[in-house]
Amino acid sequence: MRHTITITVENEFGVLSRVVGLFSGRGFNIDSLSVAETMESSISRMTIVTRGDDQIIEQIIKQLNKLVNVIKVIDLDEGEYIDREMILVKMNANEKNKPELLRLTEIFRGKIVDVTQTTYTIELTGDDGKIKAALELLQPLGIREITRTGKVAMQRGSGNNG
């Protein structure tokens, strides 16, 4: 089962490598990873999407907690959470598909952020389902290049887990 885990870490030299090394060294999977500073520059927050049965997820959480630079680990799938990913898609654009590209961008509430004679670059944000649906519809129109941020997520409600 897929789990989204958020990890608060000390923003120290090598910390990303410690987290990633733990996953590779113990044979855990990383489906996506995103990391950046929080409001405090000494603290960073990571969102990792991983897979495994209950026992593996339990081990992942415990092993992450064991890292000295890790301050807090939350398995978001234990409650309600919001997750978003942003993608940039560079599309082949021609007279024939331009109207459809514009239409799809609007439907998915995206933006065209770069235009050339032969390309449109679309920015899209959404959860897993929306991104997947958008890509399925864009694919037949000619995707030239794609980059994704990986998922970021946080718990719903008023709690502060940063």
Partner: protein, 562 residues
Amino acid sequence: MKLTGAEILIECLKREGVETIFGYPGGVVLNVYDVLYNSDLKHVLVRHEQAAVHAADGYARATGRVGVALVTSGPGATNTVTGLATAYMDSVPMVVISGQVPTGLIGNDAFQEADIVGITRPCTKHNFLVKDVKDLARIMREAFYLAATGRPGPVLVDLPKDVVVSSTKFEYPETVSLVGYNPTIEGHTGQIKKALKAILAAKKPVIYAGGGVVLSDASEEMTTFARKLKLPVTMTLMGLGCFPGSDDLSLGMLGMHGTYRANLAVTECDLLIALGARFDDRVTGKVDEFAPRAKVIHVDIDPTSISKNVKVDIPIVGDLKAVLTRALDMLKEEDLSSREKDLAPWEAEINEWKARHMLGYEQSDEVIKPQYVVEKLREITGGDCIISTEVGQNQMWAAQFFELDKPRCWLTSGGLGTMGYGFPAAIGAQVAFPDKTIIDIAGDGSIQMNSQELATVVQYNLPVKIAILNNRFLGMVRQWQELFYGKRYSHTVMDNAPDFVKLAEAYGALGLRAEKPAEVAEVIKKALAHDGPVVMDFIVDREEGVYPMVPAGAAISKMLLA
């Protein structure tokens, strides 16, 4: 007053109560060695950095204090990796200080540069690269704190040359503040209560005690606990000595080369009480058939150990000493008078297994049996010594036939299984206890992995005794080839070993040899009487095997008995 990084380093070691370090100098640590030149900190010069780390490890296991090693950058640092991995697997408190090229050259493939922080990340509890001399004192404080607390482990501190040379005001932090590190010491009261209830209700309980009991210095509490509740105790390789092997409740070691009664008791028990043990595959064999009828209690300071390999019914995260002290307190109100009677049928069942098969071997008048050497060592020393072992058959025979009654007298690489560990570890223990008898039970293969340290023991007149069980084979691998590979002894024949007596003499140590069983006792007595390092070369039965043996991946109840 300002101090240089090198001076600060040595000052920090003193503040941590370090008396001895094991090391090997080199380019980027010259300034540190210069400070050592007229320091009262004792430095033992080894002949290979791997031995420095194993010696620090042996020192730590024998004393319970943090062992310290100091090495230079590049190859000096990479040579510590096996020692760090060994200590990491067995949770040994240790601080290794490695030199590093100047910060400005890091990443430039400088002479003797290695990314040792990157290399050792997965085999240390934590590691540090000191980038500014102002951070050095704090980092040293944190390194020792991390090494010794919680589940202990090795910590590496990488010190670039420019940090060592530059100066700052020295202030040793009073306290340590690590936001992400808060080991749980006290166990959860409700869980302890639940565990005691399960223990009092069990008809066939067994304690499965591991190295954690030794690490938390909880042997006394555990012994009291087991005796009070009449709980039979089996120990892992790492746990040996945490409960008296001579006690009636002792079942001996369990697992791949465990005793018949220990493996059957675990298979048949209705309650398994795991104390500071981690359900290693050498212990469990086939996991699905390990303690299949048992409810499992697991006390461990490391939450990741719990429910990692075997599902646990009553987990307790905490320090064993604290948890057992608490449990003993709670037991004060219990009426335990009927324990003996209640558990009599279980005791009878265990005794039946004991009667059916005991550890043993076939004695011979012609050829020395390796087990006989170990038994004689035990008999002649009266057990009053520290035993280190190498890895393989020698280690298993030592575990089986050298009955231990006390903790911290047993230095063996359990998790990583590092050949070449025993001799340098013995050096560490001997430095800690100059007057104690320290014996390395070795094989002819393992001893050759660090035999250069004979120079070290001679230089410092460390009277370490090495007992080589010389079968001119890599015995344990040969045994597997005999049993599972149709006796095809592929590259396990060690016919070109040196003459170990002459080797000892070449270094200036005493060399002795026994070729007949009748000579064994005499050689041991001579070695023990000699005030200096001794190599005993016992020419043993070439194809003797270690039994019982559970084939890899089989249930531990399925033992080959001979």
